[in-house]
């Protein structure tokens, strides 16, 4: 056990896999000498050399596209997109190739690779640095989309992602990169991708969320408790595929469900979870499945971001409305 924050835990996971498997390579913009703009890859180039941990030219399609080639040839690339807002030049490579090569060739070729994507708001950043577009990625067939909410999960999930033979989008809640410290097991362990985590059991309402919003929901839960509301908190961990079973079981118990996300509302994760709720447990529902999310707007610059974000109060507001329904 060692006390770590999320940056340290991700670094540790990379370190373990780089050490264990010569096929693992880590590259992207400024991940080498600099150790990444968030220092997530710090020290790895020194330890494993410039062939294995290196800076790429500034071109996201290039990064993902060459990673696909490497993966086809047998490597296990772990690439970084510097910020959530800069992944779009790589969309064609992700949608048209990384997620299709196996299906296209009936299993002859595979693209085992991880795309690390620091995402989300709350860090007083410039435009394009605060987005949370998990729903867009969840809609891409062939992609797995995961996101940890604690240092422990970050480590176990990243190791599992690197060992997976699929293409994994690993979304890192940069807002809590250093905010949470926790004891994390030393050495290698994995957390199964695709399974949600019931963080706190409860009886009155199920709240589904992931990543940085877990902490916000927990703050809201403190206030809800004072009001006598018992919340069951589910950390999805995996945005695609979604763990229906855990959601079903929870609703059957609570009869109510609320999804909390940072991204734009329409066509977001909230709608998908609500749909799953009605598909799996319609007759158990005592109130309409609800969503707290961003609005259908551009994430505002820092001075306006609080209007957009989902803080403890906004979550509590919806919990209260739903429970009173």
């Amino acid at each position: 056990m060692k006390i770590m924050n999320m940056v340290g835990a991700i670094n540790d996971a990379l370190d373990i896999k780089l050490n264990e498997d010569k096929n693992v390579v880590v590259f992207g913009e400024d991940v080498g000498v600099e150790g990444g703009v968030f220092r997530v890859t710090e020290g790895l180039q020194k330890k494993y050399g410039v062939d294995r941990v290196f800076d790429s030219p500034l071109a996201e399609s290039g990064i993902v596209g060459t990673a696909i080639g490497m993966a086809i040839a047998g490597l296990r690339p772990v690439v970084e997109m510097q910020f959530c807002g800069f992944i779009y030049p790589a969309m064609n490579q992700i949608i048209s190739h990384a997620t299709r090569m196996r299906n296209r060739t009936r299993g002859q070729l595979e693209t085992p690779m991880v795309i690390r994507l620091p995402y989300g708001g709350g860090i007083n950043a410039l435009e394009h640095h605060s987005e949370s577009m998990e729903a867009m990625f969840g809609h891409i067939p062939g992609l797995k989309v995961v996101s940890p909410s604690t240092p422990h999960d970050a480590k176990g999930m990243l190791i599992a992602a690197i060992e997976s033979n699929d293409t994994i989008l690993y979304m890192e809640p940069k807002r809590i990169y250093r905010a949470i410290k926790q004891e994390v097991k030393t050495g290698k362990f994995t957390i199964e991708l695709g399974k949600a985590n019931v963080v706190t059991p409860g009886n009155d309402i199920t709240v589904v969320t992931f990543g940085a919003m877990v902490r916000e929901v927990q703050k809201a839960m403190v206030m809800a408790k004072e009001m006598g509301i018992s919340v069951e908190l589910i950390d999805l961990r995996s945005i695609y595929p979604i763990d229906r079973e855990t959601i079903r079981n929870s609703i059957k118990k609570t009869g109510r469900i609320l999804t909390v996300t940072e991204g734009p509302m329409s066509f977001g994760l909230g709608a998908e979870i609500s749909q799953i709720a009605i598909e799996e447990a319609f007759l158990y529902l005592e109130a309409p499945p609800a969503r707290v999310s961003g609005y259908d707007v551009i994430v505002p610059l820092p001075k306006g971001e609080h209007h957009y974000m989902q803080d403890a109060y906004k979550i509590l507001y919806e919990i209260e409305r739903n429970v009173k329904y």
Binding site: A59, S61, G69, L75, N92, N103, R104, R106, S164, R244
Partner: protein, 368 residues
């Protein structure tokens, strides 16, 4: 060669003229007569297949198909040099090169008949499937090149793109990455003068496509892509350069798409008869045929005979493809992930339930 033919000198590398005469013996590639005859036959096979497929398409037995007709020397020369250890990263007009790597015609037919199995090359290793999103495959080639260098292997990558494809951002990023990494990738632009209806003059204002090599600090050369010997020579030199760590290389192979863009295209809308005729004179098969006949290595009789054989072979593989087993519902789910997640199992289950319901429904309705 790369110094003399540096694209800034605006020279196109040529070995054989339009009549099959060797312009300069010193430029000839190292290649046995036997190998040339084989290459000619392979090119002829590709052409025979091409023309026949266009017929199948007219008969409604195959969907959209992009013919190679007129561009066979580029694939032919690649086939003459590529080895088992090497990678082939095609665009979608490299039939000859693909066949040489062990892809079967039947597989190509399957693809254009609408089966993914047409991309699951059973006897071919190190061939990527035909790439539909233009130029995107070049980045995969650069990545494979990285793996080769990383593992200190003695492999090469032959990667293809069209003239139209040079306009895409991925073209730029691929050659640039490959240039920075100095990886053994030979990028071959098949400049067949058009991207569908768009002439190369509307793709770029650059003097040539080969000159784009300078933007990436890599060796570049323009070559007559309808001249089998020139093409082979350039590939031989490129291979040597890559083996010496001087890769990547960018080759512009000048050629002409004699047929339509695909079977659903009508080139008379955007090309003149004169233009087409002027290119007929440079036909890669005609030129090599004349060369071989002059040397007594080939005859019209042989050609006739072999074309008949080829036609039968093409037909045989086509009919085999036509008899491919029915496409089962589970196949659309099966290859999405290394292990099918519960979500997809549920969806498959639902589809199967629907099919059961549907056959009952139809049975009921027909009873009435």
């Amino acid at each position: 060669m790369f110094t003399e033919y540096n694209p800034i000198n605006k020279l196109m590398f040529q070995v054989m003229d339009n009549h099959g005469k060797i312009i300069n013996d010193k430029l000839m590639p190292e290649v046995s007569d036997q190998r040339v005859v084989k290459a000619y036959k392979d090119m002829l096979f590709a052409r025979t297949a091409d023309l026949q497929i266009v017929n199948y398409q007219r008969q409604g037995r195959i969907f959209t198909y992009p013919p190679n007709y007129g561009q066979e020397a580029i694939s032919g020369a690649t086939a003459s040099i590529i080895e088992e250890k090497d990678w082939l990263v095609p665009a979608f007009r490299e039939m000859g090169a693909m066949l040489s790597k062990g892809v079967t015609l039947k597989e190509l037919f399957l693809l254009f008949m609408g089966y993914e199995e047409g991309n699951a090359y059973k006897n071919a290793k190190k061939v990527l499937p035909i790439s539909v999103p233009i130029a995107s495959q070049l980045l995969h080639a650069a990545g494979i090149g990285y793996e080769i260098k990383y593992n200190k292997k003695k492999e090469l990558v032959y990667a293809f793109v069209g003239d139209g494809g040079t306009s895409e951002g991925d073209f730029h990023e691929a050659i640039n990455f490959a240039g920075v990494w100095k990886v053994p990738v030979i990028f071959i632009i098949q400049n067949n003068q058009y991207g569908i209806s768009t002439p190369v003059s509307m793709q770029t204002a650059s003097e040539s496509l080969a000159i784009k090599a300078l933007a990436y600090g890599v060796k570049g050369i323009q070559v007559d892509g309808n001249d089998y010997f020139a093409m082979l020579k350039v590939l031989q030199e490129s291979k040597k350069a890559c083996e010496n760590g001087e890769g990547p290389i960018l080759i512009e192979a000048v050629t002409y798409r004699k047929g339509a863009h695909t079977t659903s295209d009508d080139p008379t809308k955007y090309r003149t008869k004169e233009e087409e005729e002027s290119w007929h004179k440079k036909d890669p098969l005609d030129r090599l045929n004349k060369y071989l006949q002059d040397k007594g290595l080939w005859s019209d009789k042989e050609e006739e005979k072999i074309i008949e054989q080829f036609k039968k072979e093409v037909d045989r593989q086509f009919i085999e493809a036509e008899n491919f087993p029915e496409y089962k519902p589970e196949e659309i789910f099966k290859y999405m992930y290394s292990e099918t997640p519960q979500e997809l199992k549920d969806q498959e289950h639902k589809l199967m339930e629907f099919y059961r319901w549907k056959s009952e429904k139809i049975a009921q309705t027909s009873k009435k």
